[in-house]
């Protein structure tokens, strides 16, 4: 038990948020932000650390991240001042980013935050995109909730090779 307590204490004393993206790290700047192989022209905006890890697991994205620390919520009183939006703007300017990917939840609050950020970056000349919404890979339609199906139907795309 004492070993566990000591390990927890040590972890708590050395782990802190990255000064740039707010990912958890034992140094001032996290591995992702330090990695010179990462594409600095692209920033993916996520809600919290678990979302960043979820995207990192895919190994499909090689750019940088920015953790907001939440989403705008009218009812919970979370306004723009409670999120690190100033930090996002500063990093876009610092790196000269050309693309911002909004990987926020497909909820009313998540999408309201996405629109807010899009408007905030309107004059910065960056391309702003968001994750697609719809049928998950391996999903059977009859197990899907109505919201997902309606969204998928509305965002349907053309098949490659069709006229």
């Amino acid at each position: 038990m004492l070993d566990l307590a000591r390990a927890l204490e040590q972890t708590a004393s050395i782990i802190n948020p990255c000064v740039k993206c707010h990912n958890l790290t034992s140094e001032a700047v996290c591995d992702i932000c330090q990695n010179p192989d990462r594409d600095r022209l692209s920033i993916c905006v996520v809600r919290d650390v678990s979302d960043l890890w979820a995207l990192e697991r895919t190994r499909a994205y090689r750019g940088l991240y920015h953790i907001l620390g939440g989403v705008l919520s009218a009812i919970d009183g979370i306004g723009p001042d409670q999120l690190d939006l100033a930090g996002l703007k500063a990093r876009i300017d610092e790196y000269g980013c050309t693309e911002v990917i909004l990987a926020l939840g497909a909820t009313v609050d998540g999408q309201a935050t996405s629109h807010y950020i899009t408007e905030m970056l309107k004059d910065r000349g960056v391309s702003v995109s968001r994750l697609a919404q719809g049928v998950p890979v391996g999903g059977e339609l009859d197990y899907m909730d109505d919201g997902t199906l309606i969204t998928a139907l509305r965002a349907r795309g053309k098949m490659a090779g069709s006229s």
């Binding site: 009313v108 609050d109 629109h115 909730d145």
Partner: protein, 271 residues
């Protein structure tokens, strides 16, 4: 023999015993109702406390197990969604637990439009802020459900303004646009008094027109529900919500309601 202990002691003991017997033999309280989700507050690893506006029981709260662990529940639990709820509790006054079944999702109709997102957030924030818990407001539920079902309509903003007027009326502060507050005439009504909330005719209001609200065209028999008229209407309903509902409870209008109004006014100015 027990006079020194006093009657109150025995009354307390007996009532406690009855309560325990009653508690042990009590059946579960439960009901099923239709509802609109107003607020979802995460609790623990995967659960949530959810506040809703129900058709028959007004604003109500309950606990949803595995709210964030189950894929189906995650899709059902978002503010503005219309759901069928099952509530069960050991006692009527406890929080109780909900089972949730999605009837009509709001997300697909609003995700692409910032104004609609702000509007749905505003509706939920207003209902959550002003309604007391477990007080029946069936008309307000019907009005809210009708608005959410009309989000695809080209007139959704005008319908939202009417919903806010219905909210004021449900809370006892309805606006009266039927006749002039001064002369009683029903002709040429163009203003609303910010004090009384009643209509004022053009002739009677001419001297005070800078202090009066203009009645938006779509509330006055006209068909114009463009951004400018909606902006006028939202400024008017915001005034009455602030003065009559929020100021008496030392609160301000929800921030998102202000953002929605600003967004529409910005659009109107850009036209």
């Amino acid at each position: 023999m027990f006079d020194h202990i006093g009657k109150t002691f025995w009354e307390t003991k007996l009532s406690g015993l009855w309560a325990r017997i009653g508690h042990n033999t009590n059946t579960m309280e439960n009901w099923t109702d239709q509802a609109i989700i107003l607020n979802i507050r995460p609790h623990g690893e995967s659960a949530a406390v959810v506040r809703v506006l129900t058709r028959a029981r007004g604003k109500h709260a309950g606990y949803v197990h595995r709210a964030r662990a189950s894929g189906a529940l995650r899709g059902s639990l978002d503010i503005g969604n219309m759901v069928t709820l099952g509530w069960a509790s050991r006692a009527e006054d406890q929080l109780g637990t909900y089972t949730v079944e999605l009837d009509q999702p709001v997300g697909p109709y609003v995700f692409d439009d910032q104004r609609k997102l702000l509007c749905v957030q505003s509706l939920c924030a207003l209902l959550d802020a002003v309604l007391p818990e477990r007080e029946k407001h069936a008309a307000l539920y019907e009005g809210s459900a009708a608005f959410l079902a009309a989000l695809d309509s080209p007139h959704w903003m005008a319908i939202y303004v009417m919903w806010e007027m219905a909210l004021l009326a449900e809370l006892g502060f309805g606006l009266d646009l039927s006749c002039c507050a001064v002369s009683g005439t029903t002709e040429d009504l163009v203003y609303i008094s910010p004090k009384s909330g009643r209509a004022v005719s053009r002739a009677e209001g001419a001297l005070y027109k800078d202090k009066l609200f203009l009645i938006p065209d779509f509330l006055n028999g006209g068909g114009d529900d463009g951004a400018e008229q909606i902006g006028l209407a939202l400024r008017m309903t915001a005034h009455f919500l602030r003065k009559r509902v929020f100021e008496p409870i030392n609160q301000d209008l929800p921030e998102v309601r202000r953002m929605f109004e600003e967004k529409l006014l910005g659009m109107a100015q850009a036209l």
